[in-house]
Symmetry: C2
Subunit: 367 residues, 2 copies
């Protein structure tokens, strides 16, 4: 099952895997897909540099990419301390009260006041790009649309392709007009930042909108070969999958977060919610007691990006340490209903490829 995307990147299968785990990303690339490492968690660009050194040593020379979070418009930003002062005290009180009601312990004193996740800041995302371009990355993807023009030019000068997520046809056209090489059409059912339009409608709409100018990847709702084949039927050149790798054994190597994986494995497709509480922009998350607390009448309105992430950053650390499957803060798509076991990336990839081929063969027999 090869598409033009396979030639573009020199990969075996038209499957791109986004993941915050270098262990997963490297395994996806080794298994014949394109692993794309999410950079938002690296506050320190040097730390990313070290991890990309590890990727270079563990991908058997196979291609890989990185994903940054860069708003199209360069925001005014101060230091993290300045931004922290913009978080209203009543929001902080709500978070503290909620965590206490949910039985989430405080951080040990030596870990308190650690930094918020700064990867959402434009300056940090730029440093990610600079570091990535020193490594043999094949793709820089941006979760928030097209990066600024000089970033696109910098990538192109280094022979690196740029991908941008889009939730509407006209957004996709605007990305391509700005120089983006690949559009990721991300449907409503996807995890993380996602729009209103579902993949079944969005993917052909984006494909038609960009025409022959660039290939389109389908994102949202993909976790089986039938869904990969459906994405190809809709006109995509490949699948962009994020959620599905969260229950791989390699993910546990990075996160060591077994409560989160237990929560995902037992969740159904109806157990997600689209909410602004993770970053300030609508993102699909696993439905847990934490997301429910934010839906109570006493909960404040989430803050705009990047303030909301600064507000909940310590909460996320506390929640992760508490290891309680009922209180998890995790972006995941509706495909979580199909994530029912912890398996290796190679297992997942082999089954995806086999079932995609089986599906295409089944369709061929209908005509």
């Amino acid at each position: 099952m090869r598409t033009a995307l396979c030639e573009t990147f020199g990969i075996e299968h038209p499957i791109v895997g986004f993941t915050p785990s270098e262990h997963v990303a490297a395994a996806i690339s080794r298994a014949g897909g394109l692993g794309v490492l999410g950079c938002v968690r690296f506050n320190d660009a040097d730390e990313l540099d070290t991890v990309l050194d590890w990727m270079d040593a563990n991908t058997d020379g196979k291609p890989y990419g990185v994903d940054v979070v860069m708003p199209m418009k360069v925001p005014q930003e101060g230091t993290s301390v300045d931004l922290g002062e913009l978080v209203p005290p009543e929001h902080r009180r709500f978070v503290d009260r909620t965590l206490s009601e949910l039985g989430v312990p405080e951080l040990p004193s030596e870990q308190q006041q650690s930094d918020a996740v700064l990867g959402w800041l434009h300056s940090v995302a730029r440093a990610h790009v600079d570091v990535a371009l020193k490594h043999p990355v094949k793709l820089i993807a941006n979760a928030l649309g097209s990066p600024p023009k000089d970033v696109i030019d910098e990538a192109h000068d280094a022979g690196v392709l740029v991908a941008a997520l889009a939730g509407k046809g006209d957004h996709a056209v605007s990305h391509v007009d700005k120089g983006v090489d690949i559009v990721v059409a991300q449907g409503h059912e996807a995890g993380g930042h996602t729009g209103e339009i579902a993949s079944m409608v969005l993917v052909p709409e984006v494909v038609d909108a960009v025409g022959d100018r660039v290939p389109v990847l389908a994102a949202g709702g993909i976790g089986s070969g039938r869904q990969v084949a459906a994405a190809l039927a809709l006109g995509a050149s490949g699948a962009w999958m994020g959620s599905y790798w969260l229950t791989t054994s390699e993910y546990a190597m990075t996160a060591g977060d077994t409560a989160m994986q237990r929560a995902l494995v037992s969740a159904g497709s109806a157990d997600t919610v689209r909410s602004r509480i993770y970053t300030g922009k609508p993102a699909r998350l696993l439905k847990t007691k934490w997301t429910e607390a934010w839906e109570s009448p006493e909960a404040p309105e989430p803050l705009p990006m990047p303030l909301q992430n600064i507000l909940v950053s310590e909460a996320h650390q506390r929640i992760m340490r508490s290891d309680d499957p009922e209180v998890v803060s995790m972006p995941v798509g509706q495909i979580v209903g199909r994530m029912n076991a912890v398996r290796s990336v190679q297992d997942v990839m082999s089954e995806l490829v086999r079932d995609t081929e089986k599906t295409v063969a089944r369709l061929g027999e209908l005509s």
Copy 2:
């Protein structure tokens, strides 16, 4: 492009078309699909009888079906007068004020106080079934899940299959346990009553949940051959399409509602909203000044089914007569973004079939 569904119904293409218009339903059947006539608008079962006589004379002996709206649990209900008394006066005042602000004229005096749409009432839906079974219908579909067991038995005794819509895997299993013969997996992107889970995730989930017991139709987001092929890739035995027929020339023959068609033709895939204002249950509608008014802070909470429909029934009549594309009350799915011209049913069907085959051929060349 034939599936087992084609054998089951003796149809040429695995495409089922739901529509409130007998002109569209008959044209779908004549074009080789299965036309399914929505019955909810027939307050008087005799009127349905007359329309089905017309269907019998205009389908060239091709199979067709009907769609009723029957809650699984038989509700306590009085006459329409009793129910009308349960509508709070402040709701009526909001509707009157809104229509006046939107410039929607009152009904001519001879049309005032006409009946609400009673097809939402269980007793009326039962009368629809009784009438339908006197005609050579092949399918009775129920928009609200499995009908009561005696209705299923009555249909089966007459050799008629029963279909039920489902928005979750476990609902589908429950329908099949009750005797339903075909499940329509209706994704979030669909028009009308719809759940949270999008087609890309829902269809294979329902297919896996019901296994080999019954065929599954994919509903939601289908308006091109690529989308029909995607539905088949996801494991569906065919496509259930509703919205797409609203912009056919045959639909205009029934509704004569050109403002509505103009509004649909110019709408994009983002121009829908899922709201309880149409029936009391969440249904996806075209986004217009009418739906926006119900989202304003002064708007009351919609009433439960069937009260909400009684509340807005006269408003719907007034809106339809006002012929203003900016004030329309119409269920439609996100596929509205692909409904860009008024065409004949035969044109639509031919293109769907041709593009489905082209898509399957394209996929075959990838492997």
